[in-house]
């Protein structure tokens, strides 16, 4: 380990010397870049992630001087991957730089990929608002490049987090849009009822029985097979329970569905919100009587 560290520092010093000296036709930047690359690799072997990251940034700067933009962007990505282990903010900053360069040279699919990576970093840090922003950007880029599956994955993340942030209408629009797209594809049509269920749960959170009923009718028009599914029945029965302000029925309906298809944590969270509202209504009714 110490051996790797010593070699890394040696390479870095040589590179710095090269940069401060004279070079013919920019060859000093080429030589320095080569040395910085070796130095960064040695730092990685020594598990000195911060130093490896900062060395990759120096490498990126050399590549920018040489007008090798693709290599510069890749160096920023390598720096980000090193910083990921120690400093998330630095990692995000490096990925942002990489994305900007990829956009400049027209590599939009690469830019989309790293925007998604930034979003994942924010998600791991529980910074949901920023995660949503970057997932949205990533989805946009993927759509421009017609990488629809990846775009939809990012959109689903946006919808999921938007619902958690109580931006239900936004979630509904995304899920309905994905369902609409999926219907015209033989491979994706089987997932439609899942998307419509998610949209329906978001509708329930809005606490508007008429809107829920209208949405269910719309979903039936969208996919005629939906009305025969357990997902449709779950939504319809919950809507009825909300309309009747019957917490018992609400619980029974959900338990019955969950006994067959266990609800994931996202659905559970949203349905608990619905139940809380329903209980509050019930208590209000009791107070009035």
């Amino acid at each position: 380990m110490g051996d790797h560290l010593a070699r890394a520092e040696d390479f870095e010093n040589k590179a710095e010397k090269k940069l401060s000296g004279w070079g013919l036709f920019g060859s000093k930047f080429e030589d320095a870049a080569d040395l910085f690359d070796k130095s960064a690799n040695s730092y990685k072997l020594a598990k000195s992630w911060d130093k490896a990251g900062s060395t990759y940034i120096k490498l990126a700067n050399c590549n920018l001087k040489l007008e090798s933009k693709h290599e510069a962007a890749q160096a920023y990505v390598d720096a980000a991957h090193c910083y990921k282990k120690t400093n998330i903010n630095e990692s995000v900053s490096c990925l942002d730089n990489a994305v900007n360069i990829f956009c400049e040279i027209g590599r939009l699919s690469m830019a989309a990929r790293y925007l998604k990576e930034i979003a994942e970093l924010y998600e791991s840090e529980q910074n949901i608002e920023q995660a949503v922003v970057y997932y949205e950007k990533s989805a946009d880029f993927y759509e421009n490049e017609e990488v629809n599956t990846s775009a939809n994955q990012c959109k689903q993340k946006v919808a999921q987090f938007s619902a958690q942030l109580e931006q239900y209408q936004r979630s509904i629009e995304i899920y309905e849009d994905i369902a609409r797209q999926s219907l015209s594809n033989n491979l994706l049509k089987y997932g439609v009822k899942g998307h419509l269920l998610n949209a329906g749960i978001c509708q329930l959170c809005k606490d508007d029985v008429i809107a829920i009923t209208n949405a269910l009718e719309r979903y039936q028009d969208l996919d005629p097979t939906f009305s025969g599914t357990r997902e449709y029945r779950l939504l319809a029965d919950i809507a009825a329970a909300i309309d009747e302000e019957d917490v018992g029925k609400f619980t029974e309906v959900i338990k019955e569905f969950d006994s067959m298809t266990p609800l994931d944590s996202w659905k559970t969270t949203l349905l608990l919100r619905v139940k809380e509202k329903l209980k509050a209504k019930e208590l209000e009714e009791d107070d009035l009587t």
Partner: protein
């Protein structure tokens, strides 16, 4: 958890387990489900069970810690054990009273219902996984097409490079023509793409009235009234089994459709990959030729 109202599905289990750990479990699965679930419990779940903690987020939690000694129809848990052994300990089936045999029939009916329900759960799980697999396959198809587009772009760039290499030789050098064995075709959609073509086939059949939408599970339809005698109880169980089997049939039909779609998509991928391989092979051949030309020029 959310107040004092009693949860509607709080039905006692045949064993004396103090609470359940499935957040939404309907808790009316009789003895047999224990065979399936107990072995799968994690240590934390066991701990929760022994502590008598109710982990259901949708439950109101007033009744969670009551010990239960009777089942859905009021049979003793000791009786269930007797039925499990098929009366081996008490002289076999022939030596039982009519009442005992009726109770045994109810037990067997419930056991069958649980088995069918478990089959349905498994089929649902398979469907979830299959749906994910189809999405992944779709993504893979997109990636193959994109890779092929990139190969076609490389072909254009390489053609320009070959022209430059051809004109680099100088005045007296022999003109160089790149060797090409075949043209680069780029991505080919094999046949008429079934994925796009058949997308709304089901919807069209629906509108024609050829296929009825699978009827939803009718577990929640209101039963006529509480069954009183063993015969009625068995009938109720039979109805439950019919519903579950009907749902299972629909699910298996859907799974068949999924399997067919997976098969045809993988076939498409294989053909697309064959085309891609041919194009990449041709590109490789031309890159080798261009490198040789470059080396020759540098050697002069």
């Amino acid at each position: 958890m959310f107040g004092s109202k009693k949860s509607p599905l709080k039905v006692a289990k045949p064993s004396s387990v103090e609470s359940w750990t499935n957040p939404f479990d309907s808790n009316d699965e009789g003895m047999d489900t224990k065979k399936y679930s107990s072995s799968r419990k994690t240590s934390s779940e066991r701990a929760l069970t022994t502590l008598g903690v109710n982990t259901n987020p949708f439950d109101d939690g007033t009744d969670a810690n009551k010990k239960s000694s009777s089942t859905l129809y009021g049979f003793q848990s000791a009786n269930w054990n007797k039925y499990k052994n098929d009366f081996r300990d008490s002289g076999g089936l022939e030596n039982q009273s009519v009442q005992e045999l009726e109770s045994y029939a109810v037990y067997k009916a419930e056991e069958t219902t649980n088995s069918v329900t478990n089959c349905l759960k498994i089929a649902e799980n398979i469907r979830e996984e299959a749906t994910q697999t189809l999405v992944t396959l779709h993504q893979q198809g997109e990636q193959i097409t994109r890779s092929h587009h990139v190969a076609a772009d490389i072909d254009h760039d390489l053609t320009r490079g070959e022209k430059l290499l051809g004109s680099l030789g100088g005045l007296f050098s022999k003109t160089w023509k790149p060797k090409k064995t075949r043209a680069i075709t780029g991505p080919v959609i094999v046949g008429d793409d079934p994925v796009r073509r058949k997308g709304n086939h089901l919807e069209q059949r629906e509108k024609l009235g050829l296929t009825s939408a699978p009827k939803g599970q009718s577990k929640l339809r209101s039963p006529p009234q509480e069954p009183t005698n063993a015969f009625e109880k068995v009938e109720v169980e039979k109805n439950k089994q019919d519903d579950a089997l009907s749902d299972l049939s629909d699910l298996l039909g859907e799974l068949k459709g999924m399997a067919v779609d997976m098969g045809s998509e993988i076939e498409r991928h294989n053909k697309a990959l064959n085309h891609l391989y041919d194009d990449v092979d041709e590109l490789n051949f031309r890159v080798i030729g261009a490198n040789q030309r470059g080396r020759r020029l540098l050697g002069k």
